[in-house]
Amino acid sequence: MNKTVNQKAWFFVIPVFVLVAFNAIIPLMTVVNYAFQETFGNNVFMWEGTRWFKQIMLSERFHASLGRQFLFTFIILFIQIPLGIAIALTMPKEGIGVPVCLVLMSMPLLIPWNVVGAMWNIFALPDIGFLGHSLNALGFDYNFTQQIGDAWFTTILMDVWHWTSLVVLLSYAGLRSIQPAYYQAAEIDGASRWAIFTKIELPKMKKVLTIAILLRFMDSFMIYTEPFVLTGGGPGNATAFLSIDLVKMALGQFDLGPAAAMSLIYFFIVLLVCWVFYTLMMRNEEKS
């Protein structure tokens, strides 16, 4: 669309700008403030320069939680994106099945995150939970509160349960936007199912899939409530992802300086990855 230059448009943006700035800039400045100073309370601050940053960057604890975070995010992306596409491809295209699938599949998205954690806790408990009890009855030695592998398995399964539907809904919407003419042409050419998928469906879904990956990256990188309620970061620190570790440091131990430095590094990583994605996405949009 041709947009006209109009500087008065700023007046329309002011309410949004004020509300978001009120919430984003002032608290962010507090974080920056703590990141460079040492405080003993009573608003007495001492300049520390980059000491906290160096401390965090060199600390093994941070490396470990960052590593866990990346591993977790990669695993869930690796499972959820292909699974979401596969389910979207097999979903009914018309009839009563469509709203039924859409409504039932959206359910997990609208459950408060700590309820998701609590629900999975009850579901996976080895003695009284359906999942835990069934796995143990099948001969697996399963106990997510004590074994690291089981804790990871449960956390990942919970996230797959919680968020795959988002990928499904996005892919489904992308598939619905393909005109029937494409499929007819493919049929005339005698294209195989696989060729239809790679040559028609996948390129058409590129935009929505970029968004799906972006959203899943962002949200899984910030994950806090669900694993906190499910495993509490344990056993030990096995499932203490970045946010859990950060809250533990800031509110648990009140190490405000290092916690603030860690917040900034954390935010910067998310921002960097998202900026790369956003630029790629916008470039694609301009091309098409």
């Binding site: 448009a9 409504v103 408060p112 629900m119 946010s243 916690a259 917040s263």
Partner: protein, 266 residues
């Protein structure tokens, strides 16, 4: 081939429903049955857990608090986002692209980063433990989201609509409220759905910013779980009830949900 297609979505939906069923199952059991036996359905069916929630004010006020701040947040977010989205979809102005990306970065900010500064900030302006505080803090991610979705819908409305209205002698605000807003009702509905959804499920900020007076239901649950022992039945009943508002909202937007996601602007 046609029959086989049903298999994948069906298995997936069963997988989705299992934990929800287990939660419901637990909520109708007595505490002794939960702890002592493993049963696939309630042997002694009881509604006591639900009765407790509906009669004990510490429980049901949690629901009222949650609904109160979620509605407040949805109204604020959409009201502020409407003119801004219009500006982004119709005009070029100094710093528009940077502003848009800056707004989006707030959707990307991990709430854990903001928990402590929010606590200090809202305490210092005497808003701690009020519904307004939670509603305002959720604006951090809901306003960027609302602007993003609405901008998508508004851009699909041809500009000729605006121009015709001006030629017909409409003032800007009359055009905006009488013509423009009615043409994008579906978009506003979807935006409200997403604002509702993200404000309803978020807990970290809501829990940090409240103590007693504005405590959300989800926080009541976690605190009760740690203080009064392990009352699983009660916890399960409270959890089951938190699913209801979401289910109602989905039912109303079911025809638009795919379209909303199609814009890909979550």
């Amino acid at each position: 081939m046609k029959k086989a297609k049903w298999v994948v979505p069906t298995i997936y939906i069963i997988f989705l429903m299992l934990p929800i069923y287990w939660l419901l199952n637990m909520s109708f059991k007595t505490t002794t049955e939960i702890i002592n036996t493993y049963t696939l359905w309630p042997k002694e069916f009881t509604l006591d857990n639900y009765k407790k929630i509906f009669t004990d004010s510490t429980w049901y006020t949690g629901y009222l608090n949650s609904i109160y701040y979620v509605v407040m947040n949805t109204v604020i977010s959409v009201a502020a986002a409407l003119p801004a989205a219009y500006a982004f979809s119709r005009y070029k102005f100094l710093g528009d692209k940077h502003l848009f990306f800056w707004l989006l970065t707030n959707r990307m900010a991990p709430p854990a980063v903001f928990a402590l500064p929010f606590f200090q900030f809202y305490s210092s302006v005497n808003l701690f433990d009020t519904h307004v505080a939670v509603a305002l803090s959720h604006c951090l991610f809901n306003i960027p989201l609302a602007v993003w979705i609405l901008e998508g819908f508004m851009s699909s409305v041809p500009k000729e609509l605006d121009e015709t209205a001006y030629v017909d002698g409409y003032s800007f605000w009359r055009f905006f409220f009488k013509i423009f807003i009615p043409t994008i009702t579906a978009g506003i509905g979807i935006t409200m759905f997403f604002c509702f959804m993200f404000s309803w499920v978020e807990l970290l900020l809501a829990k940090t910013l409240t103590a007693v007076a504005a405590k959300p239901i989800a926080a009541t649950m976690t605190r009760t779980a740690s203080t009064s022992g392990y009352e699983l039945g009660l916890l399960a009943a409270a959890g089951s009830l938190t699913i209801i508002p979401g289910a109602i909202v989905i039912y109303f937007v079911r025809n638009y949900i795919a379209k909303g996601f199609a814009l890909g602007r979550v």
